[in-house]
Amino acid sequence: MNTIFYIAGAIALLSSILAITNRNAIHALLYLILSLLSISVIFYILGAPFIAALEVIVYAGAIMVLFIFVVMMLNIGLEEELENKWLKPRMWILPSIIAAILLANLIYALRVLEHQTVTPQIIQPKQIGISLFTTYLLAVELSAILLLAGIIGAYHIGKQKKKIIHRFLKK
């Protein structure tokens, strides 16, 4: 099992790196989906099968598809030269340094957890469901309102006024 964790983890990291470095948006999104899928594997072996499923369905399925739609709507597959212009190698230096320091801090901070291992405990979807609809019921209601706002907002902001001009009026 540990081997699976390491393999899936490596794939996730690698495909994430590829996703953020790729110049083609569609390719990048595909890498990202790969990364999400391997994270879903990790969820599964961590004893969270329900979350693993959600990761695939919602993240890799719904959210990423949304991205792909937008990318296609904007046709930015053609803008690879632009990306070349935007992405200069030296731009990676400062962010990487910052990230490295942060990583060092994180490693230092996580040393306290060195000898703790996860107790193998599978949490069934039923348990989550009970928890969601009893303890956290109000949070679920709240997230419904939140989604409502998201939908209305996306609708309002995304809506473009169609300019329909009759062909006779076109110049």
């Binding site: 400062l94 910052i98 942060l102 801090n105």
Partner: protein, 625 residues
Amino acid sequence: MTAYIPFIPAIPLLSSLIIILFGRILSKKIVAFLGVGSVSLSAIITIIAGINFISSTPENGSYTVTVWNWLTTGGFSANIAFSVDALSLIFCFVITFVGALIHLYSVEFMDHDEGFARFFAYMNLFVSSMLILVLADNLLLMYLGWEGVGLCSYLLIGFWYKEPENGYAARKAFIVTRVGDTAMIIGLFLLFINLGTLNINELMQQASLKWAVSSPLAILSAALLLGGALGKSAQLPLQTWLPDAMAGPSPVSALIHAATMVTAGVYLIARTHVLFALAPAVQAAVAVIGAATLIIAGFSALTQHDFKRVLAYSTISQIGYMFLALGVGAWSAAVFHFMIHAFFKALLFLGAGAVIHLLHHEHDMFKMGGLWKKLPIIFITFLIGSASLAALPLISAGFYSKDAILWFAWSSTNGSKWLWLAAYFGAFITSIYTFRMIFVTFFGEAKTEPTHKPGKLMTIPLVVLAIISLIGGFIELPENFGHFQIFSRFLSTTLPSVQLAGESHNELLFQILSAIASLLGIYLAYLLYFKKSSFAESFSNSQLANFFYKGWQFDWLYDKVFVKPLVWLSEINKNDFVDKIYTAIAKATEFLNSLLSRTQQGRLRWYVMVLTAGVVIILTFMLNL
């Protein structure tokens, strides 16, 4: 029963606000009605309060009306609360009553002035601030009123702001009194830090509990408060602003610079008398300063040509008497003299103002003359006021109040023959310069022609004040005749009575002596200025007279000692490091501003970068601490 007390200062304040906000729209009549009406209403309420107070005097001699509690946190509280006792009632009465008369007079006096509404707005604001000053139950609120009257005084001295000199005079008044105010505010801090409260009653109790007589803190805080009083009341060495303050309209001089504001120092000392009693050295200083001031200002008054400047110096001198009385512990005598002085000095200023007004703004007395036939009412009322000022025996109110001071200067435990001698000599000079004024202005040959007769609105206040100046003295008669002392009995609930050193058998002797001084002064003035003796001519041209004329050269002295060195210092510093520090601060601020501004250039990624860098720095710092 006491709920109406806050209206006494509130009504003029409200009227002032209305005039400020709507002054442009309102007609002159309404402005005048508001201005006079509000102060009159306050006067009526004050009288009602006074009657109530006398009919049912509270046990400890005062009651407090809390309007609201502004802030209270951990031991510090700032209330808007008014405390009513005999002392504050007398001050309130004088302020509102004299104020109402002066407002009435101003309606005619300011009639053709374009700043009519502005004038009444300031005057009402002044009355309100002054009432807050005397009614305040804590020193913080009192300080608010204190600064308020200072501001109004500044605004009104510079009322005719188109003349730059008036602006200078206003600024001078503001800055000189500011010297005293600074001392006072330090004194307030000192009191608050050491006694933990600013409520006057509590403060006085605490002070007498915690501080021994002549303890350093008591002396220091009393001295600092005295500093404030000296500035406001134009006593040595901060007296120089008052003669210049005559640049304002005459009603202003009458109300602010004679009757009320300049006596705020007297009020302050009387109000905190416990503190001064704890610091005998400071109290003695009060007496000495008063005595010195009354003589110095008297001599200056003797040589002035400007009608109003004579009165200004005489005001300084009379307040000197009040300080002398405070200094010897004759609290009620000081307050009595304050009240009588307010009546006759307001009368004199209004009379002088009327004369100046009717003579095309002619200020020089020596260019007037023979007015007694042309302006009989003004002459008679002015004569009555002068009699009071010169303390003409028996018939004038000023005689009774000044006599009390002279008597206590000798007989009180804190008194001495030197103080008495100074006061006596001062009384003599007072009657000389007073009647010099009368003879020069109203007698002799006429040099100018008044434009018209004064109207009713001007004469009524003059007559009312003249009557009071005549009979006002009878509410407090000396022990040896009548022993009718309603005034000091009224005040005894608030202020302790004077401690006499010896027996009182020779009081009559002193009364006769002071009557002689007064009459002798009048006779001398008659010889010099009515008969036109050559001595008067040669004296007025002498160096000494010039020295007196310039107010003992205090302005020159301050110019040399304070102003010039400061100007010199600032000049040699023009390119020196002090300036450089300031420019460097400004430059550094500007530099930092542009530096920081450069970070806000709208780049999203840069924003995220700063955010992340911030996290990294904070995290690294915290993990390594």
